[in-house]
């Protein structure tokens, strides 16, 4: 019997399993997860879960995964190496043989080599991380967030909701530039002070001070000293692929991500990849990219699962990226890939509601919205269909279109 092994039991891995079964794969499936938990949803960990409004959202029960999907689920088992010539994944629980393999090990939070070994300096990626952070952020506590990216900003927003005091420290003069460009990054950054959070741009933490092994103060590059109960390091994530080094799987020079073709096949036969770790040529933009968002992990998982189930009919994966974030009760949504040409076509950078369009010549390549949930998916479709600026303007501001 053909055996499909999926390494990584988060969103992309689970979707890959579901999709391979839907595509008619009737062989054996082994799903390996490094964490002890059933597959669970990560976005709420910095939002509703952190403030205690929601419990962990596991999509399927263990019985459903084992029974309905017919999966040999192995939790608490981490992959440690790969021997493609033997078709073997090395794990903390011994060798696992595969005929076909899908790698969905995602990403891990980046840290700084200079961070001292003090209790209270933490990152947030897993459910265990979130449980730890829930105990640390309580009403009245002082929270320092290092990095004003999406995770850091969501944590600051949740801290504010809990009744803690959050300060966000960001080294760059404008946050989120790589994801949403300068103008929209600056507009989103303003949500922090408007909602009671201090945001310090162009600033870094020069020194961490502690008492009895626990962080108590940070000294900023400006000389200011902040009292702190916890420092959350939110400076991005890197592909969790060190276990693949030397295996023969082509890894990206810059970040160690997995280099795939348009069907998500890696450089090694019978091995596909999906999720945060994957670099692949996205035909929707004619360039190779790596995406770290929920939608992409889900959709790549679906595609990799279907392709591994039926390699002879493997189909390419192309997408107009989509991600969302919630800060202080405001919904931020982004579709596409940011360009340098951007304009606010509804609302403005200082308001609580806007639509910004990114163009490349006449073509719309991305859109960012704040509290405009009705417009974003229509813009995603327009971008996928290579719509132009005039069409996007008509969609955003239909009342301004003159009737002929």
């Amino acid at each position: 019997m053909t055996r499909l092994v999926v390494v990584g039991a988060s969103l992309a891995g689970l979707r890959a399993v579901e999709s391979s079964r839907r595509a008619g794969f009737d062989g054996e499936i082994v799903l390996l997860g490094a964490e002890r938990h059933l597959p669970y949803d990560r976005p709420p960990l910095s939002k509703r879960y952190l403030v205690g409004e929601a419990e962990a959202d596991t999509w399927r029960t263990e019985d459903e995964i084992r029974g309905e999907l017919g999966v040999d689920l192995r939790l608490g088992v981490a992959a440690t190496g790969l021997r493609p010539a033997d078709h073997v994944v090395e794990t903390t629980d011994g060798d696992v043989r595969y005929d076909r393999l899908i790698i969905a090990t995602g990403a891990s939070p980046r840290t700084l080599p200079s961070l001292p070994d003090l209790d209270g300096i933490v990152t947030l990626r897993t459910l265990d991380d979130a449980d730890d952070l829930r105990r640390r952020i309580v009403p009245g506590s002082h929270v320092t967030v290092l990095g004003a990216g999406f995770i850091g900003s969501e944590i600051a927003s949740s801290a504010e909701k809990i009744g803690a005091y959050a300060t966000v420290v960001e080294a760059a003069p404008v946050p989120l530039v790589r994801a949403v460009g300068d103008e929209v990054g600056a507009a989103l950054a303003r949500l922090h002070p408007r909602n009671g959070t201090r945001l310090l741009l162009g600033t870094h933490i020069a020194e961490y001070r502690g008492e009895r092994g626990r962080v108590t103060e940070v000294v900023l590059s400006t000389g200011e000293v902040l009292t702190t109960d916890v420092v959350v390091v939110g400076i991005g994530a890197a592909p969790a692929t060190t276990w693949l080094e030397g295996s023969g799987i082509a890894l990206h020079d810059r970040d160690g991500g997995i280099v795939c073709d348009e069907t998500l096949l890696t450089s090694v036969p019978d091995v596909w990849a999906a999720g945060d770790a994957v670099h692949w040529p996205n035909a929707a933009y004619g360039r190779t990219m790596r995406l770290e968002n929920w939608t992409n992990a889900s959709d790549q998982g679906l595609r990799a699962g279907a392709n591994a189930a039926d390699p002879e009919h493997a189909a390419p994966y192309a997408t107009v990226p989509y991600f969302w974030s919630d800060w202080y009760g405001h919904r931020i949504q982004f579709v596409g890939v940011a360009s340098d040409e951007v304009e606010f076509v509804s609302g403005g950078p200082d308001g609580d509601r806007f639509v910004a369009l990114f163009t490349d010549g006449d073509r719309v390549v991305a859109a960012a919205t704040l509290n405009e949930p009705r417009k974003i998916m229509k813009l995603r479709r327009l971008i996928a269909e290579r719509g132009d600026r005039a069409a996007a303007l008509a969609l955003v501001n239909p009342e301004l279109v003159t009737k002929e």
Partner: protein
């Protein structure tokens, strides 16, 4: 042969809009983030497609219920 009906758990749905991006003739997020379903009845031909949309919901807010007819 039975029909199916799309159901939304309003307590879970936050209007993220993945469903709308998959089938904008059936799903539409409103200005205040409320999901509107245009025609909630699904026949056997569409069942697999709508099931995949139900599965894709980030908030697990959608369900395809069997209508006993």
């Amino acid at each position: 042969m039975s029909d199916y009906r799309i159901e939304v758990d309003r307590g879970r749905c936050t209007g993220i809009g993945i469903c709308e991006s998959m089938r904008d003739d059936r799903f539409e997020v409103d200005d205040d983030g409320t999901l509107v379903i245009h025609d909630d009845v699904v026949d056997e031909d569409e069942r697999a497609e709508i099931e995949s949309i139900v599965l894709s919901c980030p908030a697990s807010a959608l369900k395809l219920a069997t209508v006993v007819g």
